[in-house]
């Protein structure tokens, strides 16, 4: 079937303003502005920068993981296990440390645990070519279960010296936020300016074409799963420091929030599109929305409902925008 046209030789390019502004990140930014305005109407506390920052530290760890998750989704896969990974790595870390291992070594053990979890996801999804959606649902249950075995019903305490990462302020900004921004900057640069980043988009857009172009699709995907594993572990350990103790149900249900951040940021679930900037904005949007709701004394119940509605609205909007920009 032929598909060329003499009449269609030259489709005019979209005007620059269209390219820059008609995209999911704009939607997210708009929502942030609306959220800020709405929330400040609800409560004057809200416009206190410190207050907002302190709120963000509560979900900083998940936000960092969401950044890497974004990359995984752009490459055409999905991983629902990072929250369970965080919990298990944190439990492993706390447990070996409690058993006597010196702190730095315990951290390493925790990170290695996360790496192993990422490796299992990679093995089953890429090497065994199973759908990553069902694999990571399986590993999510498995890792959470292992955390339950290790920690049981109790909280494992973490040594005093390790606690309080969120209290460390650099130029008045809590450390977790700094780490988030550094991570966002780094990953954003990788995704936006390096070859690997470019290739991640290409793999997600058309894996067959990527293969034909000589791109190492399998290696890159495995690398992403491993990275997500390690970063989840690091995030879990950060959470341990913030909370002072670890339980098996750390960030239970957190996968929802991470996926929400990615989707709100304009990541396309089928791969090939999405940005770190978008997810970054979405993370802040979520903080503003959650904090605003808390300040308005909305019950956690309603907050949950709102999150669900947000996710649905976000994908409808993202799909709509992508349909408009692709003729």
């Amino acid at each position: 079937m032929t598909e060329t046209s003499t009449t269609r030789e030259l489709v005019p390019a979209r005007p620059t303003w269209h390219v820059v502004f008609v995209r999911p990140e704009t939607m997210t930014t708009l929502l942030i502005v609306i959220g800020l305005v709405g929330a400040s109407i609800l409560s004057p506390f809200f416009l206190d920068v410190n207050y907002i920052m302190r709120s963000f530290t509560l979900s900083a760890e998940m936000s960092i993981v969401a950044l890497v998750l974004t990359m995984v989704v752009i490459s055409g896969e999905i991983d629902l296990s990072p929250a369970a990974n965080m919990a298990l790595s944190a439990c492993v870390f706390a447990w070996v440390q409690e058993a006597g291992l010196p702190l730095p070594l315990a951290v390493v053990v925790g990170l290695v645990a996360g790496l192993a979890m990422g490796a299992l996801n990679a093995f089953m999804s890429i090497r065994m070519q199973l759908p990553s959606i069902i694999v990571t649902i399986g590993t999510l249950i498995f890792y959470r279960g292992l955390a339950q075995i290790i920690a049981g019903d109790r909280s494992i305490r973490v040594p005093e010296s390790f606690i309080g990462i969120n209290n460390v302020l650099i130029l008045g900004v809590p450390l977790p936020i700094i780490i988030f921004f550094v991570a966002a900057l780094f990953l954003g640069l990788v995704l936006g300016t390096t070859v690997i980043g470019r290739q991640i988009y290409q793999i997600g857009t058309n894996q067959a074409a990527a293969l034909h172009a000589g791109i190492e699709t399998k290696r890159i995907k495995v690398g992403l799963f491993l990275l997500l594993g390690v970063v989840s572990a690091a995030a879990g350990i950060m959470a341990a420091s913030r909370l002072g103790s670890v339980r098996y149900d750390l960030v239970l249900g957190g996968e929802l929030q991470m996926v929400l951040m990615a989707m709100l940021g304009g990541t396309y679930i089928f791969g090939g599109r999405g940005t770190i900037l978008g997810t970054c904005l979405a993370a802040w949007l979520l903080v503003i929305v959650s904090t605003g709701m808390t300040v308005a004394n909305l019950l956690p119940a309603i907050q949950l409902t709102v999150l669900g509605i947000l996710l649905i609205v976000a994908i409808i909007a993202t799909n709509f925008i992508y349909a408009r920009t692709q003729r």
């Binding site: 990553s132 959606i133 590993t139 339950q148 679930i269 019950l299 907050q303 409902t305 409808i316």
Partner: protein, 328 residues
Amino acid sequence: MNVLGSIFFRRESGILVMIILFCLAVGLYKPQFLTLSSLRIILLLTPLIMIGAMAQMLVLVARHVDLSIGSMLGFSAMVVGLMYREFPEIWWMVGFPVAILTGATLGLFNGLLVTIFKLPSIIVTLGTLSLYRGLTFIISDARQINRSVIPTELKVMSRTSPVFDIPWIILIAFGIAVMAYFVARHTQFGRQIYALGSNPKAAPLRGIDVTKVTLVVFALAGALSGLAGILYASRWGFVNPSNTGAGFEFQVIAAVVIGGVSINGGVGTVMGTVLGVLLLGCVSAALPLLGIPGSTQNAIFGAVILVALLIDRTVRHRGVASVSGGAA
């Protein structure tokens, strides 16, 4: 069934063998596992999962996923619970149609989002998972429905029975399984679900109304979740906004994956799913007997899912992961 029909049954026999081997192994160590009362315990663990598994099976066969069945269960249970509390005079059986219709409405909403907006079911149901759970909290004012509110007749369904000392609740669950078998195998609708999941592109070419079938599948999944909701109230005697149905979808997915249902659609049998549920029931029942703490259950379930997937891959050599990781 003729000789070659056994191709369809190979997996089911495999699961059955595993169940037998497992029970024998446990029985060797703790003989009381192989008693009738033990069987009763096993069966009592399963009815809700059984019903949920039937729902999820149909959705998966149609090449979709429904992660919200636990929340639909919770919401329906709560609606029924509230009804009993506000209208204590009402005939207890009214709860059933109320629960089922509530669930069906929620399921229909899922289906509409998937068909009208062409959104991937995985993300839609991840969203409605929270939405419905949140709504459950809202309508209940975050308070639980206590034992005293649930009608005695309902609670008693989990204990008394008309025949062989098998509680009503188990009979209902197996009855649903039988109906699911009938629908899947002997109705036009069932065959169209399999066709749709097997080759979504060819389905419209063969006269299948994709929108209608998809909507009905999701509504059905909701209805079954609603039924499971009222049976939850029956079994446990109370409804709690945060716990009721939480984690349900994961147990259900474990059962369904073991039962041989494929995430790529078009493949899966009721018999396999039932056996999957039974295997998990045996494992859950064996744990306390063997002195293994209940906290290991999730780890074991997760491991079982992964092993089942690996066995599938090495034995069947089918179902190469789609590029989107099966999220489509």
